[in-house]
Amino acid sequence: MSDNPILSWKVAGVALGLLLTLATFLVKPLGVSTQFVVTDAVVAHQVAPQFAENNTYLSKYGEKTDWSVGYGWMLVLGMLVGGGLTAVVFRDRQPEADQGSMPAMWVGQFGASRMKRFGAAFLGGVLLLFGARLAGGCTSGHMISGISQLAVGSFIFGVTTFAVAIATAKLLYRSTQS
């Protein structure tokens, strides 16, 4: 079995660029992080409608009259379905190192504790979406879609994010770095 992803970066990159072009032609560019707010807002409007209405950020999304489960939310639902179906079909061809919930690279550095890995994954998720909402987008909306549109703010996001992520990764893996 190959150690490389099923699609080469060339094919996957060209396909993603064409997908972005098609999306921009049909509806609008790709974006993911807003949909986490929409999901929160829809749940909040169900569980605690008064709270949701008083929350100035959530009240912008998922109101009762318009569930805001629109194009963007369906896109993320599609990612879940499309990713899942592809994973089932191509399971045998996925490199073994990319399978499972405990990456070997993580285990080598931080040990086999599932609690530790899942705790870090959760904390990372909190930071991801807090940061993405503060910045107004994530890897898809800012970096892929935004930089493709030559948006100034998206270049600022791309540079800052990569610089900090590289520094954080180097810090986490400092003992194994030469």
Partner: protein, 179 residues
């Protein structure tokens, strides 16, 4: 066709590309951030190179539904930095944690849960942050096309060639260099 159905179909393809391209792999993401495995950065540069050309070719014909995010400098820098830490710690971004979850990866599911909590926490502090991070130094929805004042495609072509050259000829994996 209904935009909901279009969104769903585009999302299916998006999820499939991310899975097949290895973007939902912790090993590939951390390899990129440690500057050893260039697969993911080359994938992104190629996507942006092709996307930039495609989007501004559409724009030339007046067919692009552009969506430019406002450049509020301090909010983006602060948010980008927090996002960067979360990216390196989890090994996922908001899109790839969805795909990782669809593969049945539990760590991706925890990132997804954390992301929902992170978005919720943001909604609680949004009124405070709005005044001093989002309203200050807001340059508006500007692009380099607006700044330079030429037809978009004339910027997109050299930009695209630069990114594709970086991906295809400049960046190389650096595994096995350390002793």
């Amino acid at each position: 066709m209904n935009t909901l159905i279009i969104g769903f179909i585009l999302g299916c393809v998006f999820g499939a590309i991310l899975f097949l391209g290895g973007a939902s792999s912790y090993r590939k993401i951390l390899g990129t951030l440690l500057l050893k495995d260039m697969t993911i950065i080359k994938l992104m540069l190629t996507a942006i190179g092709v996307g930039s050309l495609g989007v501004y070719l559409l724009d030339l014909g007046g067919l692009a539904n552009l969506s430019i995010k406002p450049a509020y400098v301090w909010g983006i820098v602060a948010g980008g930095a927090i996002f960067g830490i979360g990216w390196a710690v989890s090994g996922y971004c908001p899109g790839t944690c969805v795909v990782g979850t669809s593969e049945g990866k539990l760590d991706a599911l925890f990132t997804l849960g954390g992301a929902l909590v992170g978005a919720f926490i943001f909604s609680l502090v949004y009124p405070t942050l709005d005044t001093w991070l989002l309203q200050n130094a807001n340059l508006g929805k500007i692009t380099f096309v607006d700044l330079i004042g030429v037809e978009g495609i004339y910027l997109a072509i050299p930009f695209s060639l630069l990114l594709l050259a970086l991906a295809f000829f400049v960046l190389k994996d650096r595994y096995g260099e350390e002793t």
